[in-house]
């Protein structure tokens, strides 16, 4: 019984290690494909990146705006309930700088992008694979990494970085409005408190985290879309695997950033 459990754990670890190695090879091949990008395809490459930014960033703005504003209000109400807003203090600024700007902004943005665009990427590529579209493209001299994967990686990385900034901005606006409405702290005081707690480094880290999260989401969802199997029943499984791996990646990288920067 115990031996079975240990054997099962061993098999799981072996499978996980193999998957990490395969994804690492996939990342390497994708990076090499960037170096060999055909000069004739530059115009289309820029168009594909623009389309990806449109789907991932621009079309997500209304949803993200509502969520970010509500989160800002929620954080202020929680802070008030904890007694952090009695009289002016630096506490509210610190709460926003640490909880929202450094951590929640990129993290929540990534979760939204995984739900909207990660699923779309994995489903689209898995369907193309099942229908023989990727085979046909490949047979006609198109490298799937150059056509299907690279524009998505660049487009989603750019989108998550910019959306994270937008998310933080709206969270702060929502928080400032809630603070002045519920606790009598003026918007000016709220922003002064935030300025004291934040540095330019926080914004740079937000952008960097967003770019890393975005690239990881696109790589993992593309990988599972392209290599998740060739039967129609493999499509939903590819989507699930892409989403679960992307979530895991996002949380692991969040912890790694915290360890390196603040540990």
């Amino acid at each position: 019984m115990l031996a079975d459990v240990i054997a099962g754990l061993g098999r799981g670890a072996q499978g996980g290690g193999r998957e990490v190695a395969e994804v690492t090879r996939f990342v390497g091949a994708t990076a090499r494909a960037l170096g060999a990008y055909p000069a004739t395809a530059r115009g289309l490459w820029l168009r594909n990146i623009r389309n990806q930014v449109l789907f991932t960033a621009v079309q997500a703005l209304p949803f993200l705006t509502i969520l970010a504003s509500l989160l800002g209000v929620t954080v202020v109400l929680e802070a008030q309930a904890a007694g952090l807003l009695e009289g002016f203090s630096e506490a509210i600024g610190k709460v926003f700088a640490v909880v929202v700007v450094r951590e929640l902004g990129p993290l929540v943005t990534s979760i939204i992008v995984i739900g909207r665009s990660g699923t779309a990427i994995a489903a689209e590529l898995a369907t193309s694979n099942v229908l023989g579209e990727t085979d046909a493209m490949e047979a006609n001299g198109v490298d799937p990494l150059q056509y299907f994967v690279l524009p998505r990686v660049v487009g989603v990385a750019l989108s998550v970085a910019l959306l994270s900034l937008w998310f933080n901005f709206l969270c702060v606006v929502g928080g400032a409005a809630a603070a002045s409405f519920f606790s009598g702290i003026t918007g000016e005081e709220f922003l002064r408190s935030l300025r004291l707690a934040m540095t330019l480094r926080d914004l740079v880290i937000t952008l960097l985290k967003g770019a890393v999260f975005g690239a990881g989401i696109a790589v993992l969802c593309s990988y599972w879309g392209l290599f998740g199997g060739r039967r129609p029943t493999d499509i939903p499984q590819s989507v699930t695997r892409g989403v679960v791996r992307s979530l895991l990646f996002t949380f692991v990288v969040t912890a790694a950033f915290a360890l390196v920067l603040y540990g």
């Binding site: 055909p38 023989g132 490949e138 198109v142």
Partner: protein, 226 residues
């Protein structure tokens, strides 16, 4: 010029199955139009082995004087620049218009810049009588038009070897001779692989071979087969 465009020497398919258990030898002469008739699985395997999409389990495939490269992505791309391929089930990318389905492989294969690719795509779509629906996506047109677009995509590459799998299954038989002529003009060698007995194709092919139950039932022309 090499007098053999494609050779399969003692080749076994990637996955074993009853219909193809013995090693296959086949030499396809360069130039002209040849027809291979076989069961659907064997036809699909032959065309994918020649295109380098699959590697054989045993034996050697040579295409235009080289073994289709595996693994080396640049080598694969360089090899496939020499081919035009239309595979079943058409394989048109569903989120691109028919016209973009022709343009994308030209620019991503490094065969033409955007302007030249557009010119070649328009000419190929017109030759395959599908230019009038070039702006539509595959799901918005009939199977007949999709098959013509897949043919246009292969023809636009002006390849040394045009490799077609069941290319006219949904197309009116009266239109086949004109499309075959378009293929012949575009490519040095045309190899059509089909799993149905097609008398129009046989009439226009320089040679043909028919397999059934692992036996050559009928062949014509100057090529080697076992």
């Amino acid at each position: 010029m090499n007098d053999v465009a494609v050779s399969l020497d003692a080749v076994l398919p990637p996955v074993a199955y009853a219909d193809w258990s013995r090693p296959l030898d086949l030499a396809v002469p360069a130039g002209g139009l040849g027809l291979v008739e076989a069961t659907a699985q064997r036809a699909a395997d032959i065309v994918r082995l020649v295109a380098g999409v699959h590697a054989p389990r045993a034996g050697v495939v040579r295409v235009l004087g080289e073994v289709p490269p595996v693994g080396d992505r640049r080598g694969v791309q360089a090899f496939r620049r020499r081919l035009g391929v239309a595979l079943l089930p058409g394989g048109l990318t569903s989120n691109l218009s028919l016209r973009m389905n022709v343009i994308v492989p030209l620019v991503y294969g490094g065969l033409a810049d955007a302007g030249e690719a557009a010119r070649r795509a328009d000419a190929a779509l017109a030759a395959c009588e599908v230019a009038h629906v070039g702006a539509l996506r595959p799901a918005d047109v009939s199977l007949d038009l999709r098959q013509r677009a897949a043919l246009a995509r292969a023809v636009a590459r002006e390849p040394e070897l045009l490799l077609l799998e069941e290319p006219f299954g949904s197309i009116d038989q009266d239109d086949v001779p004109a499309l075959l002529e378009t293929c012949r003009r575009a490519a040095g060698t045309v190899l059509v692989v089909t799993h149905t007995e097609d008398h129009v194709l046989r009439r226009h092919a320089g040679w043909h071979v028919e397999w059934e139950n692992e036996q050559v039932q009928e062949f014509t022309g100057a090529f080697r087969v076992r």
